[in-house]
Amino acid sequence: MSAVTTTARPAARAGRGGSLGWMTVPALVFFVGFAVIPLLGVLALSFAQWDGLGEIGLAGFGNWAAILADPGLPHALWITFLVMAVSWAVQTPASILMGTFLASHHRYRAVLSVVFFIPLLLSSAALAITYKALLDPNFGLGAGLGIPILVQDWLGDPVLAFGVVIFVVSWQYIPFHSLIYQGGVRQIPRSMYEAAELDGAGRVRRFFSITLPQLKYTIITSSTLMVVGSLTLFDLIFVLTAGGPGDATRVLALDMYKRGFQANLMGPASVIAVILVFFGLALSLLLRRLGGRDSGHSQLEGA
């Protein structure tokens, strides 16, 4: 994330502030207590045996051996990857297009934005419940309209259910990413477009030669949020399909919950959690590397 790199330079204008370290203590206490210790704890628990209620015992590498040999793991990894990749491929082009549109058309924007951003306000639970009702083959919209093609067992068929998950995720997050892209487009210096226009570049050419390259860091930020966010996509899938039908939408986060809090196997569930943390960190680091280190400087040359 580009915003992250800006703070990596510590306190450029500090120096005479005196000893203010104590001011970080309250935040540190909360963060260490309920984020850092749990993070280490999840690693510890992955070697433990615990049903969520009774005593915690040692399991050694048993949990890891069991999970790594479990065919459910590659399946959950594959579904998580599919959700990540497909929802990225759906959301990114749409968000870039709409972000560009919103950034340049203020008049339409005022009208559009009243409803445009409402999906951002709904909780995932509310959204999932709505779509569940809407898609119900007996009581939903399709049945009411009497249009046969809409009367499908949307959440009962593995392929359809996966498609519904992607659709609802996109419905929820496209406005958010459009907002990010809108901000990115606004920061592109007008002089670049004017220069390109003088050189005779058409709209499509300007989009691919100026807008897209200039949005590089915005794309990385937005993609990081999408990718890391899709790892933890729990609420929506849990309420919408509960991982079903069968295991068709059982992503890693759901797998963790089901093993831990429904099957009462906290040890194996912690193994899944560690894998989740690992992929989250790896993906953010990878995407940051793609962005390069000196974000925001060379990009504006010649503007």
Binding site: G18, G21, A35, P38, L97, L102, F117, A125
Partner: protein, 300 residues
């Protein structure tokens, strides 16, 4: 397209461009971008249709729901669904959500502001730098993956099935982004202002409260909004850390209500409308603040 010679004369004289190009300069800015416009209109329809359906259906009676055209407004509007929702203890769930959200957001913003102030203004030290990196690391970690140890800690603290169980981890999860955004804004406060206050004999506490805080108020507001929405809509923590019905927050209450009345579609949709209403009112009141709060820290 015709050539419209509307360019400023000075510019036309200094930049010798052939007429074909000049025409493009004057015309392209006016021509609508059809592809993006069409996508936006299509998207608008995709957003509006379900929302329209939710709202009108929530006013239909269960028996009429099957008889009427789903897109027709209710012939006999009824508030019965809303009555059913409110009678199902939704006032209690609403109060729980308010307590959990305010109880977490206010301390989260206060401690994050203090930490951000120290990180920006404090003497360069390894401890502060290390603290800052620790918070930044929190941004890259899917914190939901830590719920199992959090569950264990909450049980050990004897807080299971209480609103405090939701508040404590929510504070921790809010800190990384809040510190990042607030420190970016505190860094933008001119150093001279701090210096002149110091000459007047102000302490660090006074500078934080009377200088840094008022000047970064927009950032504080947006961070507050962002965190409030996250916690208000949160589902996983209440699901794992509470049990009894009287401790439910709204998203969890919605879920169990739907489990109970899944066949009564209008009532389920009324519960969705009712729980979204408070945020919708906020949205109408402060749309700009809310939208900037949502993309806080990501726009840079």
């Amino acid at each position: 397209m015709t050539t419209v010679p509307t360019e400023a004369p000075g510019r036309a004289a200094t930049t010798p461009v052939d007429p074909r190009h000049r025409r493009k300069v004057t015309r392209t800015r006016e021509r609508p971008n059809w592809l993006a416009g069409l996508t936006s209109v299509l998207w608008l329809a995709i957003v509006i249709v379900p929302i329209y359906w939710i709202v009108i259906t929530s006013f239909k009676s269960q028996s009429n729901y099957y008889l009427e055209n789903p897109f027709a407004p209710p012939a006999e509007p009824t508030l019965a669904n809303y009555r059913l929702v409110i009678e199902s203890d939704f006032v209690q769930y609403f109060i729980n959500s308010v307590i959990a959200t305010l109880g977490a957001v206010i301390p989260a913003v206060v401690v994050s502001f203090m930490a951000a102030y120290a990180i920006v203004r404090g003497r360069r030290s390894r401890v502060l730098r290390w603290t800052n990196s620790l918070f930044l690391m929190g941004l890259a970690i899917p914190l939901q993956a830590t719920v199992i140890p959090i569950y264990l800690i909450i049980i050990q603290l004897g807080l299971y099935d209480s609103l405090m169980a939701l508040i404590l981890p929510s504070i921790a999860f809010s800190i990384p982004l809040s510190v990042l955004v607030l420190s970016n804004f505190i860094r933008d406060v001119p150093k001279e202002l701090f210096d002149s206050m110091r000459i007047d004999g102000a302490t660090e506490g006074e500078m934080l409260w009377r200088l840094a805080f008022p000047l970064t108020r927009p950032a504080v507001v947006t961070v507050t909004i962002y965190n409030s929405l996250q916690i208000w809509n949160g589902f996983l923590l209440p699901l794992i850390l509470t049990q009894s019905p009287d401790k439910r927050t709204l998203p969890l209450a919605l879920w169990s209500f739907q489990g109970q009345y899944s066949i009564n579609v209008p009532a389920v949709l009324a519960s969705v409308v009712l729980t979204t209403l408070p945020i919708l009112i906020l949205y109408v009141v402060g749309r700009r603040q809310l939208l900037s709060g949502l993309t806080v820290g990501f726009g840079k």
